[in-house]
Structure formats: C-alpha cells, structure tokens
Symmetry: C2
Subunit: 229 residues, 2 copies
DNA sequence: TACATTTTTAACCGCCGGGTTCAATTAACT
DNA sequence: AGTTAATTGAACCCGGCGGTTAAAAATGTA
C-alpha cells in the first residue's frame, strides 16, 4: 500500500483524457462554431482518438455544452479573484471596469463561445442552471459598488446595477468580438497597444461619467491622456 | 412598340428572382450562419427552386457573399439618410448616437451577419472593396462633428473620431448582438421598451460625457430620467 | 484469479447536403 | 422563324462527417 504517489506513468487516467478533449474542443468550437467544427479535427488535436470522444461525451452537442459550461465557469471564476473591498466606490468601479476590459481581452475563446451562443439564441446556455449563482455574484459585485457609491454621495441616484454591468460588458465584449470587422472597415490602429490603451481610458471615462453625480471629478480620477501633454 | 408597361404578368424576370433568393438567403444565413444554413432551406422559402440558386449564384459561399454585400450596402445607405447639418455639435452627436442605437435595433439581421463575419475573422468582408468608400463616409460624419465640436470649444481636444465611432458602435451593436445571452443570464428587463429607453439614455450620457469639455452640461443636454421626478 | 473499466485501432454505416446532369418548356428579341 | 436567355423538375452523384461496431489489450481492483 501507500503506492499512491508512484507509477503515475500515464495510462488509465480518465480525467486527464477528458480534460485533453475539452481543451482541444474548446479551441475548435471557438474557432468554427458548433456546425462548423469537425469531430475529427478535434480528435486530431488530442492525444487520444475520435472513439474516446464519443466514449466520454455521447455526441457533438453534449461535448459542445460541456465545453461551454467549463469555459464559462472558468472565466467567472477568474473574475471572482478581483478584490475591491475597502476601495472608494468610484475607484472600485474604475478598477472593475479596467479588470473586465483586460480580462475579456485575455479570453478571446470565451468571447467567441458567447458570440456563438448568441447566434444560437442562447439555446444551450439556457440549459445550464449552474450558471445562475455565478451570474448573481457578478451582478452582486456591481450592486455593492452602486450602493456604496450612492451612500457616499458620489453616484447618481438613478443608476441601475444591471444597466451598469451591461455598459461594462458592452465595451469590453465588443472590443474583442468585433475586432475583425472593425479593423477591416476602419483600420487596425485601435487594436495595437496604444489604441487599446486609448479605448480603455475612453471607456472608463465614459462609464464613470454617466455614473458620477459630479462628472467634473472625472479628470482627477482618470487622467485624460497620460502620454501627450 | 410602347408595350413596355403591359403584360408584366410575371415570367422572365431575372432581377426579381435573384432578389427573391437574396431575401430568403439573408434571413437564413443570419439565422444559422454559413455552415449552418442548408441551401434546400433557402430554396423552400423562395418562389423558385434550388436549381435557380446555383444558376444565378455559383455556390453557397458566393451566395453568402452576395447577401453580405447587399445587406451592408443597404444598412450603410439607411445611415446616410440622417441629416445633421446645422445642428450644434453636441446635439448632432447625441442625434447620431440615438439614431445608430435605434438603427441597429431595427436591423437585427445585419447585426447577425456581422457577428457571423467576426466568427470568420472577416474573411469574406475583406474581399468587398466596394465597402471602403461607405466606411470612409461613416467615419467622415463623426469626424465633422468632432472638428466642429472642437472648434466650438465644446469638445475635448484629445478625442479621436475612430474611437468615438467605436464607442457608438459598441453599445449599439452589443445591445442587439448579445441580447440572447445577456437576458438569459441577467434577466430580460433591459430589453423591454422601458429598459431599452434606459440603456439608450445611459449610453448617450456616457459617450457625451467622455467627449464634452465641460461634462456638467450633460444634464441640460440629456435629462437624466424623464419618467421619475 | 476473476472482473470491471479504460484505451486503442480501424474498418464501417448511412445519410445529409452541396452541387450537377439532363431534358424540356417558355419567353424575349430580331 | 430562329436564336438566345430564363425557368422548371427531378433524378442523380459523391464526398464528408456524425456516429457505430467489434475485438482486443492494458490497467486497476479485490
């Protein structure tokens, strides 16, 4: 006994195999969508075979839904690592916004999966009842900031936490989701480092400005353009 | 001669047939994407047959590209009907924003086609060189407002027309594109009439606030919440 | 040893769906 | 009348791809 630690050579490790499949499947589904993805292409990317994909996931759609759920959980998990306790509400909101902007940029596969879900009218996401709790928490973060901001007399009285979350999502999401068409139509300048920094600053200014009771504080909170004098 | 006006019974009308195909194809591609759409489904919706689809459009991809180009031209054409001449720059910007917000809402098929193009990394849109001019004009509208606003001393000096157009697009696009997942995750409230009015107002406030040199004018330009006192 | 689970290989099935063929009919233009 | 373009219908082809079968070997467990 006590040989648990040894002989972890390789074989007979269902979890690792499933994880391997999910990893490749995520990339593939994110790249080409549900109907666009070929199971054989997924298999080709894994260390295992097409056969094992159907062994662990009954069919294509089940696999897709497993990918979606895992990815969603992972991303929402990443979000919850942000700690805003103790910050002044306006500073906290700014931090949340910048974090979300960056976070979405770092997770293009997640963004693409959500785009694909929207094409499908969220048909598959609707089944995932485990997401409800995570979504509540996401709104909860914004809600606490809103309440604190109102109580501190910093924020307007009429702001809605869900609408605020919508605003934050809109810019952060669009920035990644529409990069291809936008840069094709209007040039790639906004998507290099300088352009992204500009958009991030502008987005923060915009949203903070619509929330603050006294927008003249904006310049103090977020310097307009740190580069040019 | 002079029997042009008569006997427009029906037959021998290639343009009408092509238009019929394009109309159905647009709806179908917007609904299910390029790989998700079945040519037979398109044919079923037209007054003609699958045979004629291949007669006029060589293959699926060509048809898809024709749909995309036509839809894009139509939408950009609709945009150009907006006349902002003679308005004060801040008022003009507000009007442009509200127009774009409404316009995107009225054209969900266009939005979905753009989403699909983004999934494809804009592969097909890149081929459409005819769009360049239309895009220039779209930016031109924003640019003129920006210049006028700066000259009038109303707008900040550091705003970029392209970035401003990005902001306007972001909220207007996201509002339609992500409606399915957002309302699944966070409730449908923002998408009824009242919710949409709120988002529209909030978006205008946000973007104007990030552009105006003196954001304290915001309340005058856009009343916070006309409903509640 | 006996038994269940995991893994591998490779061939195979069946149908869906993009695209074609063919043959015939009808309109329009001269 | 003769020619060309438009239109129709239905059968057909065939490759791709989702999903299966079958059989066996390796591993783990007791």
């Amino acid at each position: 006994m006590e040989d648990r630690e040894k002989s972890r050579k390789w074989k007979q490790n269902p979890e690792a195999v499933k994880a391997d499949i999910l990893r490749v499947a995520r990339a593939e589904f994110a790249k080409t969508g549900l109907s666009g993805t070929r199971i054989e292409d997924i298999a080709a990317g894994t260390k295992t075979s097409k056969r094992m994909i159907f062994y662990y996931f009954q069919d294509k759609q089940t696999l897709y839904e497993a990918v979606l759920e895992e990815c969603y959980a992972e991303v929402r998990g990443g979000e919850s690592e942000l700690d805003l306790e103790g910050l002044r509400p306006d500073v906290a909101l700014k931090a949340l916004l910048e974090f979300t902007f960056d976070h979405h940029r770092r997770n293009p596969e997640f963004i693409r999966l959500v785009m694909i879900e929207n094409i499908h009218e969220a048909r598959h996401m609707k089944k995932m009842h485990a997401l409800a709790a995570k979504n509540e928490r996401a709104i909860g973060v914004v809600e606490r900031i809103c309440n604190a901001g109102r109580e501190a007399g910093l924020f307007r009285e009429d702001i809605s936490p869900v609408a605020l979350h919508w605003q934050i999502s809109a810019v952060s999401f669009f920035n990644v989701a529409n990069r291809a068409t936008f840069s094709t139509n209007f040039g790639p300048e906004l998507f290099d480092e300088a352009g992204q920094a500009l958009l991030r600053r502008t987005s923060v200014r915009g949203i903070l400005g619509s929330v603050l009771k006294d927008p003249s504080q904006l310049d103090a909170l977020c310097p307009a353009d740190p580069a040019q004098p």
